[in-house]
Amino acid sequence: MNVETTISTDIAPLHFDQVRFEHRGHRLLMPTSVTFSGCRRTLIMGPNGAGKSLLMRLAHGLLRPSGGQVRWQGATPVQAMVFQRPVLLRRSALENLTYVLAIRRVPRAQRKARALDVLERFGLAALSKRPARVLSGGEQQRLALARAWLLDPSVLFLDEPTSALDPAAIKAVEDAVNAFHQQGTRIIMATHDLHQARRLADDIIFMYGGQALEHTPADRFFDIPHSPEAAAFIRGELVW
Amino acid sequence: MQKMTTMVTAGLISLSWSASLLAEDDFITLASTTSTENSGLFDAIIPAFTDATGIDVRVVAVGTGQAFEIARRGDADSLLVHDTAGEEQFVADGYATERQDVMYNDFVLVGPSDDPAGIRDSESAAEAFALIAESESPFASRGDDSGTNRAELRMWEDAGVTAQGEWYRELGSGMGQTLNTAAGMNAYTFTDRATWVAFENPQDLTLLFEGDEALFNQYGSLLLSTENNPYLKQDLANEWHKWLLSDEGQQAIADFEVNGQQLFFPNAK
């Protein structure tokens, strides 16, 4: 963990070179070139169907581009992703975490202690033996974040992780995101919540109709958006 | 996962149990007919043989045709069937070295108690069969190439009729199943006496014709040849063969009764 913090600014930049994506003849992502670098919190904004999730899945390697290149400049860093609806195994909260450690070949004797540590950290210690899938939505998302934490990622992707949660749960997720960031993790997160973006973002990528229209620092984005679509979005005139 | 482990362990234990069955060599496999098995004859005589020799006899009861096939493939150590012509051919073909008469019973004709074909007072079996064909009364045939089926076909031939038409129903079943079906259809059928006497579901069927010498049903024991079957337990099978023909074996057959009626008549020479 400490080692990672000191080299955090050296996380390999991720380049999108004219990346496009098509599915069954529909072009879902227009040729896009963006770069994610440093240890920033980049929020991807835009209405539903703009291509936010697509961009993240391409970045994380869950999808292959139809054209162009997704390229890490240097060694591919450790990554994790938290989905809109958490996908948890049909096991206890604790076992969901020890599973990840087993995948990462952590010696069996260390798994339980490390998992319990992280559960404690995310306020889930009391629920360790509960089946993960009967937890509340907020608890499930926290467990998904705890699982990501165990991976010690250099880059964390979050796909609208708070869209189905109540305010208290949203707060917990945002705190966790900041905790990751303070540990030196690059954050790439999709949201359509303007307030959330104002609270978290270092810079913003604004997407509309399968195109990345802007990539600007957050304060500039909210004060003087380039595109009329972004301006309309900020005024709350674009339905999502 | 624990459940899985338990299941696998149980499986392995049980497999070793099957293996122990294989290891036990003091038995022979006897291919025989459903008529002998269904009547209960083997239950009565095998314990006596086992007591005398320590050899167990495992009976696979099938039609005579299938019994020949099992022996031909080397899956039986001994044969006890009732198709003298077929048995002699089996010896001639080199699958068996010896065939001996063991016992006989007889075939009978059963049918609906009101006897629509009027066979009750026939002079001969041939006449009874001719009457059934003439009146086109429903007749249930085994149709399975068993010894009984082969004997039945010879009867039609002797009667000089071709068994054909809607009234003649080939079932392709064993004796008991054929009796069940005949009872259900209220049809005539041709059966060995032993199965008939032991049969518990006759409904309206009754014994209508018996006693003609042509209905004689001879059982023979065959000593199989090792030539086609290197696994044959020849010594054990030989003991069984000899015991069947011995005074003890013949007496055990004579002593077997169902409902106070002797079903098999020993006639070893």
């Binding site: 989905f83 | 499986g11 009976v59 009861a61 518990e200």
Partner: protein, 234 residues
């Protein structure tokens, strides 16, 4: 109908009498079918899961064949095993024909396609849910198989029970390869056939009632165990 003609009465007297031979027959039936289902599961669960996860040329043909084999007539399976294990067959030197081992082999062949085909369906739908997450966690395909099998365990229990139902109910295969030998390979279903052919219908039906009760009992047990586990694990 007198009392002795009533199959329920017959079944009851058989059970209460704890007849030694009946007990052996019941035990052998359960033993053969349970071993067959355990062995078939051992092979078919990973096979079904692998088929759900891997895309390879001819995959659809394999799936269609597997689905079709679910309807394999027991007699045909029995005949194939008979020809295989017969002294004149390729595996004749094993000496398995007319033993419980041969019956296990035949039932494995009958049950394996059922468990594999149904497992594939279950695992495929679970995989749709898990695929992105497991990929994100860096789980390799080979490692996904045990993960998905374990997480689908409650559905798979039903699949295994379906296999057990097929195994314990069939008669065509065990009759041919077992030979229905008294005290050696005689099981519930072959006894029922035998008693029917003797015209002893109440006894045959009584045995049928006992068989059905046993299968019901096993299903009920599995149901209770799975419900308890579900409540505990979600």
């Amino acid at each position: 109908m007198s009392a002795s003609d009533n199959p329920f009465y017959t079944a009851l007297t058989l059970i209460l009498g704890m007849d030694h031979r009946l007990f052996d027959i019941v035990a052998l039936s359960l033993q053969v079918s349970l071993i067959a289902v355990a062995l078939a599961s051992l092979l078919a669960l990973p096979l079904g899961a692998a088929l759900a996860l891997w895309r390879f040329p001819g995959r659809n043909i394999v799936i269609v064949m597997l689905n079709a084999l679910m309807g394999l007539p027991p007699v045909v399976a029995g005949l194939c095993v008979y020809l295989l294990l017969s002294r004149a067959g390729p595996l004749g030197h094993w000496g398995l024909l007319f033993t419980p081992g041969a019956m296990v082999v035949a039932q494995v062949i009958l049950v394996l396609p059922i468990i594999a085909a149904l497992t594939r369906q279950q695992i495929e739908s679970l995989h749709q849910e898990y695929a992105e997450q497991l990929h994100s966690l860096g789980v390799r395909p080979l490692r996904m198989i045990p993960t998905l099998l374990w997480d689908a365990r409650f559905g798979l229990l039903t699949v295994i029970l379906a296999g057990f139902g097929r195994a314990s109910a069939e008669v065509g295969a065990v009759m041919i390869v077992g030979g229905n030998i008294d005290g050696v390979t005689r099981v519930m279903t072959t006894s029922i056939v035998l008693e029917t052919s003797k015209g002893n219908l109440p006894l045959a039906l009584g045995l049928g009632i006992i068989l059905l009760s046993l299968v019901t009992l096993i299903n009920a047990l599995a149901h209770v165990v799975s419900e308890m586990a579900k409540r505990r694990l979600g």
